[in-house]
C-alpha cells in the first residue's frame, strides 16, 4: 500500500462535523509520519439533509504524485477502510448523490476493513451488513452512535477513538504516536482525548468476515438512462395515482422508484393498531407520505418509504399509539399491520417488547431535555451502555425545557 484511502459514511447534518473531524484527523496524524494527504466531502448543490447518508473521505499517500491520482474526484472507486459512526448504516446507504442501495461495505477493498462504532454483536451486525464477494475485516469500537453536526456537538471522543483504532488497522500510515501527537498538538490539545485514542487502540475488536457471511438480500439498483433515452426538457413523469389496498378499500400511493428510501432512518415508528383512533394526523403530517391507508381505516407506516423523522409520533394524540424505536432492533421492513392482522396477540407481545426497550427508544440524536448528555457522560462511555433516557413523549416531562 502506497496510499491509504478511507471513507466515513455518516448521517447528513447530524454527523457532519464529526465526519469532517475524523477525516482531518486522519490526514494530520499521517502527516506525523511524513505522509501527504487530503480530506474532502462529497460535494453537491444540496449536499445534506437530516440523516441522509453522506460521505467524507481521507486519502494519505507516500508522495504528492500518488495523492494526485486520487484528487479531483467526487469519491474514490474503492477504499481501504470504511468507517461508520452510526451502526444503523449497516443496513445500507442511499445518498442524495446516487441511486439504489449501496451496501455499507461496497467500496471496501478485499481484505480491507469496515470499522464501526456499535454496541451490537458481530453476528447481529452481520445480519444487516450485505454479503460481499471478498473477505474483509469487521472492526468494532464499543460505543453508541455519536452525533455531532450542525446543531450539537457531543464531546464523546468518538473522533479520536476512531483515529486510535485506525492506528491499529493501518499502522504503516497512522502510528499511535502520530495519532497522539496530532490529537495533542494540532487539533484538540487535550490529554484526555489522547488517552481515549490509546484506549481505543487497545480495545478495538476485530474479526474476519468470510465470503459466506452477511445479509443475502440483493440491494436494489438502477440503470441510468442514456441521453437519448431521457425525456427532453428536463421532464420526468409524475408519480401515478395509487390504488386501494384490497377489495376497493384503503389506499396505497405510488412512490417514485428513483427517490431515496429508508436508509435515512435511524428510528422507526411502532404502531399500536388497537388504540389507533383513525384521526389521520400521522398520515397527513408525514413529510414523506409513507403511510398507507389500511382497509380498516388505520395507517401502516410503509418501511420502504419511512425516513424515521418521528413527526407521526409527535402528532399522534393517543399515548403510546406511535412510538419511535431504534432501527437496529429490526431485521426487515415487513408490514406491521399485516403482522397485527395475522396474529393480534403475537403482535401485541412484539410491540410491547419493542416499545418497552429503554435502550432502543432513546433518541439516537438530539436530546430530550437539558442536562441529558451530562447524565449520559457520567456513565461508562466505553461500554456504550449508557443509562438511557426513555424516548416516549411525556415520560420525562419533568426534564423538558423549551
Amino acid at each position: 500500500m502506497a496510499a491509504l484511502i478511507c471513507e466515513v459514511v455518516y448521517r447528513g447534518i447530524f454527523q457532519k462535523n464529526l465526519a469532517a473531524r475524523i477525516t482531518r484527523g486522519i490526514v494530520l496524524s499521517a502527516r506525523k509520519s511524513g505522509r501527504w494527504g487530503i480530506a474532502f466531502g462529497r460535494y453537491g448543490d444540496s449536499p445534506q439533509r437530516n440523516g441522509i447518508p453522506a460521505k467524507d473521505f481521507a486519502i494519505v499517500a507516500d508522495t504528492k504524485e500518488e495523492l494526485e491520482q486520487n484528487m479531483a474526484r467526487y469519491e474514490p472507486k474503492h477504499v481501504d477502510v470504511t468507517i461508520a459512526v452510526d451502526d444503523t448504516l449497516s443496513k445500507g446507504v442511499e445518498s442524495w448523490a446516487w441511486y439504489g442501495l449501496q451496501p455499507i461495505n461496497r467500496l471496501t477493498v478485499p481484505n480491507g476493513t469496515l470499522l464501526m462504532t456499535s454496541v451490537q454483536s458481530f453476528d447481529s451486525l452481520l445480519k444487516d451488513i450485505h454479503k460481499k464477494d471478498a473477505p474483509y475485516k469487521l472492526a468494532l469500537l464499543r460505543a453508541k452512535a455519536s452525533f455531532s453536526g450542525l446543531w450539537v456537538y457531543k464531546e464523546d471522543h468518538t473522533e479520536v477513538r476512531i483515529l486510535g483504532a485506525l492506528a491499529k488497522i493501518a499502522p504503516s500510515f497512522l502510528t499511535l504516536d502520530g495519532v497522539c501527537e496530532a490529537v495533542k498538538e494540532i487539533e484538540w490539545g487535550s490529554d484526555l482525548k489522547v488517552e481515549s485514542a490509546k484506549k481505543a487502540y487497545q480495545r478495538l475488536e476485530s474479526r474476519e468476515v468470510k465470503l459466506t457471511e452477511g445479509n443475502v438480500e440483493i440491494p436494489y439498483s438502477f440503470e441510468m438512462p442514456k441521453w437519448w433515452e431521457m425525456r427532453e426538457g428536463v421532464t420526468i413523469p409524475a408519480i401515478p395515482v395509487g390504488k386501494p389496498k384490497e377489495d376497493g378499500k384503503g389506499y396505497v400511493p405510488e412512490r417514485n422508484p428513483y427517490f431515496k428510501k429508508f436508509t435515512t432512518r435511524t428510528m422507526r415508528p411502532v404502531i399500536d393498531f388497537d388504540t389507533c383512533v383513525k384521526c389521520t394526523l400521522c398520515w397527513i403530517q408525514c413529510p414523506d407520505s409513507c403511510f398507507d391507508v389500511m382497509p380498516d381505516g388505520t395507517y401502516d407506516a410503509n418501511m420502504e418509504a419511512c425516513c424515521g423523522c418521528g413527526v407521526c409520533e409527535a402528532v399522534c394524540p393517543v399515548e403510546k399509539c406511535i412510538t419511535m424505536v431504534n432501527e437496529s432492533v429490526f431485521d426487515d421492513n415487513a408490514s406491521q399491520w399485516e403482522m397485527w392482522r395475522n396474529d393480534k396477540e403475537g403482535y401485541k407481545a412484539w410491540m410491547t417488547e419493542k416499545i418497552g426497550d429503554k435502550n432502543a427508544t432513546v433518541r439516537s440524536h438530539g436530546f430530550r431535555f437539558r442536562g441529558q448528555y451530562e447524565q449520559e457522560l457520567e456513565k461508562n462511555l466505553d461500554g456504550g451502555g449508557v443509562e438511557i433516557t426513555a424516548g416516549i413523549p411525556g415520560e420525562n416531562a419533568q426534564h423538558k425545557t423549551i
Partner: protein, 410 residues
C-alpha cells in the same frame, strides 16, 4: 456577376402593403400567428413592439393574454411557464433589460421552451444610451438560444413567422431571439407586404408540445433538481436540438417560399455582389444598408467588393460561410459589438469566422473592424476605409492581425 437585388414584393391580390416599422411588422406577424400569451415590460427600443401588440389587442384583431410584468425577470419567466402548458408565446427586451432576465434566459433552452423573443438591440449601460450594439443578444450565444438578425421590416415580418415554425418544431423546441437594430429598424417605417391569415395557416401548424405539455392528463414534473449524474446528458440533448435546427430552418425557408412566393434561397446569409468579389465585407443587421450603398459606389469605380450579411448566428452556418468567404482575396468583418480582451481584441463575429476558417483549405486574409457602437452611424467613409485596408491585405497576402475601430474620434 450575380447581383441579387431583392425584387419589390409583388402585390398579390391577397397581400396588403403597409407602411410600418420593424416592430410593427413583428406585431403583424404575431397577430397572424395568433399568439396566446405575451408579456411586456417597457424598455426602449423593444417597447415599440409591445405598444404595437397592445394596439392589435385593443383593436380586436388579436385575442391574447397581455401581461405587464414587474420586470424583465418575471416577464421571461411567465412566458416560459405559459409555453409549457401549450401556449404560443412572445416577449422581448433590450440592452440591460435582457440582462436582467438572464436567469430566465438560461433556463429556457434546457427546458426546451420554444419562446420567440424580439431583442431591440441596444447598448448596454453604462452609459445609459439608446443606440444599437449587438452585445445584448449575443450574451446568450452559448446557452442554446437560436439567434438571428434582420435588416428590414419585411424581413422582420417574414422571420417572425419562420421563427415560430422553427422554434415550435418538435425536433427543435428551443427559444429563438430575433434581433432588430434599435432605431434603424425598430423605429423606421418602411413599405411592407402583409400576407393574409389563410397563407399563414398553410405555413404555420399549431404548437403541439406533446408529451412535454404540462396538463392534468399528462402529469409530469418539469425541472427537478439533478446532480452530476444527469446534467451532461441534458446538455447533450440540447446540443442535438441545436444541430437538428439546421435542417428545420432550411425546411422552413423552403416552405415559406412555396407558400408566400418570396424569401431567400439561402436562409443563413444574404450574399450581395459577393460571388465574384475580391473583397467581401461581413456584418449583421442594418449595417448592410450603408455597406450596400458603398459597394455600388465602389463597383462603379471598378472595385469588386461584396457583402455577406449574416442572418443566423446560432446555429452558425459554418460550412456555407467558409465556402462563401474562402474564395475572396480578403475578408473584412464589421462587428457592431465588442469583446474586450478577446483574441486580437476582435468582435464576436470576427472571432467566430476566424475559428470557422481555421480548417479551410483556403484562408483569405481576415480583417476585423469594430464600428457603429452605441448607435453611431456607419458612414460610407467608414466602409471605404475598411475596404481600402482589405485591398492592402489582399495585396500583401496577409492581414495585420489587428482590430480596427472605425468612426471613433481620434
Amino acid at each position: 456577376m450575380a447581383v441579387v437585388t431583392p425584387a419589390a414584393p409583388a402585390a398579390t391580390e391577397e397581400d396588403k402593403e403597409l407602411l410600418i416599422s420593424g416592430s410593427e411588422a413583428v406585431a403583424e406577424s404575431l397577430t397572424l400567428a395568433d399568439i396566446d400569451v405575451v408579456t411586456a415590460y417597457p424598455i426602449r427600443p423593444y417597447d415599440t413592439v409591445m405598444q404595437a401588440i397592445a394596439k392589435k389587442i385593443s383593436g380586436g384583431q388579436l385575442v391574447a393574454e397581455y401581461i405587464v410584468a414587474e420586470g424583465e425577470h418575471s416577464q421571461f419567466e411567465i412566458v416560459k411557464h405559459a409555453s409549457t402548458v401549450g401556449a404560443r408565446v412572445f416577449c422581448g427586451s433590450s440592452g440591460v433589460g435582457w440582462m436582467y432576465a438572464m436567469e430566465c434566459l438560461v433556463v429556457t433552452p434546457p427546458l426546451r421552451v420554444p419562446m420567440v423573443a424580439l431583442v431591440g438591440n441596444r447598448a448596454l449601460d453604462d452609459p445609459g444610451a439608446f443606440g444599437v450594439e449587438h452585445n445584448d443578444a449575443l450574451v446568450v450565444r452559448d446557452v442554446g438560444w437560436l439567434l438571428c438578425w434582420i435588416d428590414t421590416s419585411q424581413e422582420a415580418l417574414d422571420t417572425t413567422l419562420i421563427a415560430y415554425r422553427v422554434a415550435e418544431d418538435r425536433r427543435v423546441f428551443l427559444p429563438l431571439a430575433i434581433s432588430a437594430d434599435g432605431a434603424f429598424l425598430t423605429h423606421s417605417q418602411a413599405l411592407t407586404m402583409v400576407p393574409p391569415k389563410s397563407k399563414v395557416d398553410r405555413f404555420l401548424p399549431r404548437y403541439d408540445r406533446g408529451d412535454l405539455q404540462l396538463h392534468p392528463d399528462n402529469p409530469i414534473t418539469v425541472a427537478p433538481q439533478a446532480n452530476e449524474d444527469w446534467v451532461i446528458e441534458i446538455r447533450r440533448q440540447n446540443n442535438e436540438a441545436m444541430g437538428r435546427a439546421v435542417t428545420v430552418i432550411e425546411e422552413a425557408y423552403a416552405d415559406f417560399r412555396r407558400v408566400f412566393g418570396r424569401g431567400p434561397e439561402n436562409p443563413w446569409f444574404e450574399e450581395y455582389m459577393s460571388d465574384d468579389a475580391d473583397v467581401i465585407l461581413v456584418g449583421m443587421g442594418t449595417i448592410s444598408l450603408p455597406i450596400k450603398v458603398a459597394i455600388r459606389e465602389l463597383r462603379a469605380k471598378g472595385k469588386k467588393v461584396g457583402l455577406v450579411r449574416l442572418r443566423w448566428f446560432r446555429p452558425f452556418p459554418t460550412e456555407k460561410l467558409v465556402a462563401a468567404l474562402s474564395k475572396a482575396k480578403a475578408v473584412g468583418i464589421i462587428d457592431r459589438n465588442y469583446s474586450f480582451g478577446s483574441p486580437f481584441g476582435s468582435g464576436v463575429v470576427a472571432n467566430e469566422i476566424r475559428a470557422a476558417l481555421y480548417n479551410a483549405d483556403r484562408r483569405p486574409p481576415l480583417l476585423s473592424f469594430i464600428c457603429g457602437l452605441g448607435g453611431r452611424e456607419v458612414t460610407l467613409e467608414d466602409v471605404y476605409k475598411a475596404v481600402d485596408l482589405c485591398y492592402a491585405a489582399a495585396a500583401a497576402g496577409k492581414s495585420d492581425a489587428k482590430t480596427h475601430w472605425l468612426g471613433v474620434r481620434e
